[in-house]
C-alpha cells in the first residue's frame, strides 16, 4: 500500500531526473544550488522586489493617477513634506502631523506590545514546559487565538469592551461605574496592546516551547545535583541556551508589531481621535480612504517604515552573528 502511494512521487522524480542531469551537465555541479533556489527567487522578486521599486517610484512622483506614465516627477518632495517639522517631539508642529502621530503611536504600541509579548510568551512557555495537569489542553488553549482571523478577534473584543459590553456589565454588577473603554485614549491604547498580545502570544509561546525542549535535560540534572537554585538555573542555563530562540521571537514580534493594522483598525478604527492610529493605518488612509488618493505620500511613508524595519532586521542579524561567534 505504502509503495503504491509513493508511486506518483517516484514517477515525478524520475521525470525530473533527466532534465536536471542535462542542466547539471550544462552549468556544472557547483552552480546547481542556484537552480534550486530559482523558483523562490522568482516569487520573491515578483511579489517583493518589483513592488518595492514600484513603491519607490510612486514616492518620487505626485498627483492622483494610478498609471506611472501619468504621474509627474516630484523628487524628494513627498519625503520633505513628511519630514517638515519644527520640533520632531511635538507632532502638531509638523506639517503632516497625522504621520508623526502615527509614528509616536507605533513607538508606544511596539514598545509595550513587544515587551508584553516576549515576557508573557516566555512565562507561558516555561509553565507549559513543566509537567502540569492537562498540559496538552492548556497548550491548545494558548495557541487557539492564533488560529482566529484578526477581524474576528477584534470584533469579539469590541463587543466585550463596548458601553453595553460584557466587561462593563461585570463592572457594574460589582458596583462600579461602566467605562467607555474605546472612547478614552489611554484605555483604547491599552486594549489595543492587550488584544494584539492575546491574539499572537500563542505563536511565540510555541516557538519558545520548542526552544526550551531543545535544551539538554542533563544540564538541569547536573544543576540539581549541585544544589543550584531555580532562579540561578534559569539565569545560567535556560536563558543563555534559549537566547537564539528569544532573538528570533524578539525580531519576529517586533516586525509584526510595527506592521500591525487589521486588529487595531477593526477594534478602535485608530481612535479615539488619533490615539491608536498606527503608521500602517496612516499609509492606508492616505492612499485609499480619502477622496484624493495621495499614493505618492503614502508610498513615501511606506518607504520610511520599510527603512526602519530594515534597520531593525540588520540589528538582529548583527546581534545574532555576535552570539554565534560566542
Amino acid at each position: 500500500m505504502e509503495s503504491l502511494l509513493q508511486l506518483p512521487w517516484a514517477i515525478a522524480m524520475r521525470a525530473l531526473e533527466y532534465p536536471m542531469r542535462g542542466i547539471q551537465r550544462l552549468i556544472g555541479e557547483r552552480r546547481m544550488p542556484y537552480v534550486f533556489v530559482l523558483p523562490n527567487l522568482l516569487i520573491f522578486g515578483t511579489f517583493v522586489v518589483v513592488p518595492l521599486f514600484i513603491n519607490f517610484f510612486y514616492s518620487v512622483t505626485g498627483g492622483t493617477s494610478l498609471f506611472p506614465d501619468q504621474r509627474p516627477f516630484v523628487g524628494a518632495e513627498q519625503y520633505g513634506y513628511l519630514l517638515d517639522c519644527e520640533d520632531y517631539l511635538k507632532p502638531f508642529s509638523c506639517r503632516e502631523d497625522q504621520f508623526w502621530r502615527g509614528i509616536y503611536n507605533t513607538i508606544t504600541f511596539v514598545s509595550f506590545q513587544v515587551t508584553a509579548m516576549v515576557a508573557l510568551s516566555l512565562l507561558t512557555a516555561i509553565v507549559l514546559n513543566r509537567r502540569i495537569a492537562a498540559r496538552g489542553f492548556f497548550r491548545s488553549v494558548f495557541f487557539y487565538p492564533v488560529l482566529l482571523s484578526p477581524v474576528v478577534v477584534a470584533l469579539v473584543w469590541k463587543w466585550i469592551l463596548q458601553r453595553e459590553g460584557v466587561l462593563n456589565a461585570f463592572l457594574t454588577a460589582l458596583g462600579g461605574d461602566g467605562i467607555v473603554f474605546l472612547a478614552e485614549p489611554q484605555w483604547a491604547m491599552f486594549w489595543a496592546i492587550f488584544v494584539s498580545t492575546w491574539a499572537h502570544m500563542g505563536f511565540y509561546t510555541l516557538i519558545l516551547l520548542a526552544g526550551l525542549q531543545s535544551i539538554p535535560r542533563d544540564l538541569y540534572e547536573a544543576a540539581e545535583m549541585d544544589g543550584t537554585s531555580h532562579w540561578r538555573t534559569f539565569r545560567r542555563i535556560t536563558l543563555p541556551l534559549l537566547w537564539p530562540t528569544m532573538l528570533v521571537v524578539l525580531v519576529l514580534s517586533l516586525i509584526k508589531s510595527v506592521q500591525t493594522f487589521d486588529e487595531v483598525f477593526v477594534l478602535t478604527g485608530g481612535g479615539p481621535g488619533t490615539a491608536t492610529q498606527l503608521i500602517v493605518q496612516y499609509i492606508y488612509s492616505t492612499a485609499f480612504a480619502t477622496q484624493v488618493h495621495n499614493f505618492g505620500l503614502a508610498a513615501a511613508a511606506a518607504i520610511v517604515l520599510g527603512s526602519v524595519l530594515l534597520v531593525l532586521t540588520l540589528l538582529q542579524m548583527r546581534l545574532g552573528s555576535g552570539k554565534d561567534k560566542d
Partner: protein, 429 residues
Amino acid sequence: MKPYWAISMGATTALALLAFAGPASAATELRMMWYSDGNEGEVVRDLLDRFEKQNPDIKVVVDNVAYKAILESLPVQLAAGQGPDMARITDLGGLSKYYLDLTPHVADPEYWRKSFGPYLDWYRKPGDTTGIYGIQNQLTLTGPFINKTLFEQAGVAIPKEGATWDEWAAAANAVAKKLKIPFPIAIDRSGHRFAGPAISMGAKFFNDKGEPAVVDEGFKAMASRIKKWHDDGTMGKELWGSVSGSAYKGANEEFANAQVVMYFSGSWQISQFAKQIGDAFDWVAVPQPCGPAACTGMPGGAGTVAFSSTKHPKEVAKVMEYLASEPVITEFSARTLILPAHVGVAKKGVDFKTDIKLAKDALSAFTGHIGKLSPIAFKLQGYAYNRVLFNAIISRLGQVVVGEMSLDDAYARIPQDIEAQLAEQARKK
C-alpha cells in the same frame, strides 16, 4: 470494443466543441457594483430580472458590496481601468472623470434633462454643462429623528418648527436626564452631516470667487457647539471620538435601541427604521433645527452611473434607460422607501409600500424639508471635491472632541488639509 471506443470518443469531442463554442447568441454580460442601506439590492435585482426577460441578449450581474467598498475600492478600480460597467455611488462629483456620457446612446436625452435636471450638474466635471452621466435614483436629505415616546414618558414638550439647535439640545438633555438615556443627541460622524447645521449657523463654505473657504463665524458657531456638547455629555464620545480620520460612524443602532433621544442623520434611515423599530416606539422625523441663518439640512443621495471604461456602451445605455424610466423609478422608490429625485415622480407623489404609519409620516416630513434647503447646501453638494472638505472637517473635529487639539488648532488645520489635497489633485504631468 473498438466501435464503442470510437463512439464515446466522438461524443466527448462533440460535447467539448459545444462547450467551447457556447450558445449561438451569447448574452452580453454587464457588471453593476451596488451597495444597500436597506432592501435596494433586492429591489434592483427584481427590476433587472424583468429587464433581462425583455432583453434576453443582456445579462446584468449585480455585485453587492459594502458601502465602504464603493467609497474606497471602486475609485481605485476605476483609476486602474478595471471598474465595473455601472455602479451605485454617492461621491457623485468626485468620480466624474470616469463617467460615460449617455447623451449619444439614449433615445431621448431631453427626457433625462427634464426628469433629473436639477441633479445632472452634480455628476458633471467643472465646466461641463450638457453631459448626461447618471440617474439620481435616490434623493436624500439630512435631518433629525426623535424618539417621541421618550419625550412623552419624560413629560418634556417637543420643540416646535423654528426651534433652534440650542432649544433642541436643552429639550433632548431634559429627556435624557429624566429617563437616564445615554445619548441626548447623536449626529452621524460625517462632514456631510455637520454641514447642514453649520450652514444654519451661517457657514458659507465658499468665498466670493467660488473657492472653498470653510472656516468662518457660522462654521465656528456649530463647531464650538459640537465641542461643548461632547464636554457636557449632550453627545457621547463613542461616535465622533471613537474612530480616527474621516471614518464614518452612525448611531442608527443606538437609536433603534432607544438609547438616543434625538438623532441627526437622514432620510435613508427610514426604510431601516421601519424594519428594525417598526412601531416598537414612536420614531418621528421632526423639522430641521434652526440657527441664525437658516433651518437646513444637506441634500445628497445615491445615483447609478455608467463608466466610460465599459466595452458595451450601447447595452449599458439600454439598462440605464430602463432604470431611469418613470415606472421603474416609481416602483424603486415605493418599495425601498426612498425619496425620488425624478421630477415627474416627485410631482405625482409615491405610494410608499409600507404598513407602518411612522415610516410614511417620516417620508412626508422629509419631503417637506426639500423646499426649505439652503442654496449653499445645494452648492456644496454639487462641488466635485466636497468630500475633501467633509473629510478634513470630520477628521479635525474628531480630534477636538477627544481633546487632542483645540478648536483654534482645528480652524488652522482644516484649510491646510483642504489646500494640500486639492493641490495634489491638481498636479498633472
